[in-house]
């Protein structure tokens, strides 16, 4: 197989990844630039990181964003996992077509439409715009992403395990929590992380649904970017990229370790069974 990996394929991959990573790399490099002019290199410096710490508006926004992201990701993971179970386990119920439509449509729906429609809902029911409304909005679109991630894992899940547990007397609820959930856990965790980063990242929907007291970090960054490129934004961006990269790497290490552990347990069980 390795022999068929031609020169063209290798070139496509190298160029493709250069295209994907070079802009991010440049952004990170220039966050350590001494000069206020972002594109002129004037020596290494961490002064922009230091000046971030004294930027109260930015720090407040970061705190709001972290709380919104944490709460919305957690609720979205519960709802999204339920939706994924509903979609894979119950192939026939009334309104299933609408249900799957409601799951898939938000994935591609332009954010301006989702944002505007949620705002009008909140206004219609008289809910004041702020922390709560942003969180509700974020739960709504990110639960669909969680549902898709978890569903793709559930589809390949061997149901006989769960049935075996129930044959041995476990209630469906217990079977789910003790057999199914541990197995689909990697997907649930990556669903949570995806929901968290989506919320961390969202500008458009937050701009529509947030009120004066709850400016999120992307809203803050956006208003500064409109005024021009500054090394300070590069520094915030670098920190955000760093956090996300650490999270993703940590999660993949944890997943890998779980995999190894599981395989070892399976082997052990098999050996015992044979012996």
């Amino acid at each position: 197989m390795g022999g068929t990996w031609g020169r063209f394929n290798i070139a496509a991959i190298v160029l493709g990844f250069a295209f994907l990573y070079l802009p991010i790399l440049l952004l990170v490099v220039y966050s350590f630039n001494e000069s206020r002019l972002v594109t002129v290199w004037a020596g290494f410096s961490t002064r922009w990181y230091a000046s971030l710490l004294s930027n109260d508006g930015l720090m407040d926004a970061a705190w709001v964003t972290a709380r919104v992201a944490f709460i919305s990701a957690t609720v979205a993971t519960v709802l999204g996992t339920m939706a994924a179970v509903a979609l894979t386990r119950y192939t026939r119920f009334r309104g299933r077509l609408l249900f799957s439509g409601l799951i898939f449509a938000p994935l591609v729906m332009p954010e301006v439409i989702t944002g505007l429609s949620l705002l009008l809902l909140f206004v219609a029911v008289g809910l004041d715009r702020g922390f709560v409304t942003v969180t509700l909005a974020h739960i709504t679109f990110s639960m669909c992403f969680v549902a898709v991630v978890v569903q793709s894992r559930l589809v390949s899940f061997d149901r006989s395990l769960e049935e075996a547990a129930m044959d041995l007397g476990a209630t469906p609820l217990r079977a789910f929590f003790q057999v199914t959930l541990p197995i689909i856990m990697p997907a649930v965790i990556s669903g949570w992380m995806l929901a968290f980063t989506l919320s961390l990242d969202d500008l458009v929907i937050a701009s529509f649904t947030s009120g004066p007291g709850a400016t999120t970090l992307p809203m803050k960054i956006y208003s500064q970017v409109r005024l021009g490129v500054t090394p300070e934004i590069n520094a915030v961006s670098t920190i955000l990229i760093g956090i996300v990269a650490l999270g993703v790497i940590a999660a993949s290490i944890v997943n890998k370790r779980r995999d190894v552990l599981r395989r070892r347990e399976e082997n052990l069980a098999r050996e015992r069974g044979e012996g």
Binding site: A86, E111, V123, L194, D201, V225
Partner: protein
């Protein structure tokens, strides 16, 4: 008892997320529709009420009479909006094709990479998706500016003697969309290409087919589901894109997401921005339904 719980549990598993999406995703569209038929008013919220149920049936009838399609007539009569819709569709279509042309070789290369390398490559495609969209768009401002890094490089290499004007043009929007949505194209393409049986290609080549002919006759047709899924995932959100045209396209470029945003935030005209949203949704309904059907089919096959 257990069975009772199980039945109740299965109901709950369906009902809770269903109800949530119903209330927070479906109902809002009807509110948008309703307000798009209303009139702008100097009030909080800034529109005249329609279909309010608080005045009973008589009030409902009166409100229904006040319904107006004026916003729609206005939208259709103003060439600005029509141009914004058309140019959004055009920009999204061109960007989708560009993303496909760039994404396909990458996905193809990944699918034929040594087996041990594939998870790493897959991870590397997904990773940029995890980093903030806004930040990735922002990164391009520093690159594309007249005094930006790309122009510096090209001037240094002597390729050009005048800085290129890229930022605040449609070209910058294309670059932004291709860059931001590339993972959405590569992932479905990779999924179909990876499952493909490559012995088919070998057989074709043994029978005298050139590699290029084999690609056109076998690889491409077999990867069509991935092409469709990837194109939909890029095209649909790109039509309503706001951040990219706003930050990279400047004030001279026209896209409907930007129009809706400024109607809402600058002009504070909620009914007109609702009408803009309704028409945008009507344009996108066909591709969205198509996308959802294709997804459902793909899932059933799996």
């Amino acid at each position: 008892m257990g069975r009772l719980f199980s039945a109740l549990g299965s109901r709950l598993v369906i009902a809770v997320p269903y109800l949530w999406l119903f209330v927070f995703f479906l109902v809002p569209f009807f509110i948008v529709l309703k307000i798009s038929l209303s009139q702008t008013a100097v009030a909080i919220p800034p529109y005249l009420p329609v279909f309010g149920l608080d005045e009973g049936f008589a009030g409902l009838v009166r409100n229904l009479r006040e319904l107006s399609f004026e916003n729609y007539l206005w939208l259709l009569g103003d060439p600005l909006y029509l141009n914004a819709y058309l140019s959004s569709l055009w920009i999204a279509a061109v960007s989708t094709i560009l993303t496909l042309l760039i994404g396909y070789p990458i996905a193809h290369g990944m699918a034929r990479a040594p087996l041990a390398l594939r998870p790493v490559l897959l991870m590397l495609v997904i990773l940029p998706f995890w980093t903030s969209f806004l930040i990735r768009v922002y990164a391009w401002i520093g690159i594309l500016k007249p005094e930006g890094l790309l122009n510096q490089l090209l001037l240094f290499l002597g390729v050009i003697d005048q800085p290129l004007v890229i930022i605040n043009t449609t070209t910058a929007i294309y670059i932004g969309i291709v860059y931001s949505y590339l993972p959405f194209m590569v992932l479905p393409l990779y999924a179909t290409l990876e499952k493909m049986d490559y012995t088919l290609i070998e057989a074709a080549q043994d029978l005298g087919c050139t590699p290029i002919a084999a690609f056109w006759k076998i690889t491409l047709p077999l990867s069509l589901p991935g092409v469709v899924a990837g194109s939909m995932l890029v095209f649909i959100p790109a039509v309503g894109e706001f951040v990219i045209p706003d930050l990279l396209g400047g004030s001279g470029t026209l896209m409907i997401g930007k129009t809706l945003w400024s109607e809402f935030f600058s002009n504070r005209d909620w009914p007109v921005s609702s009408a803009v949203a309704v028409i945008l949704l009507l344009i996108l309904v066909a591709p969205i339904v198509y996308f959802q059907r294709a997804q459902a089919r793909a899932r059933e096959r799996a």
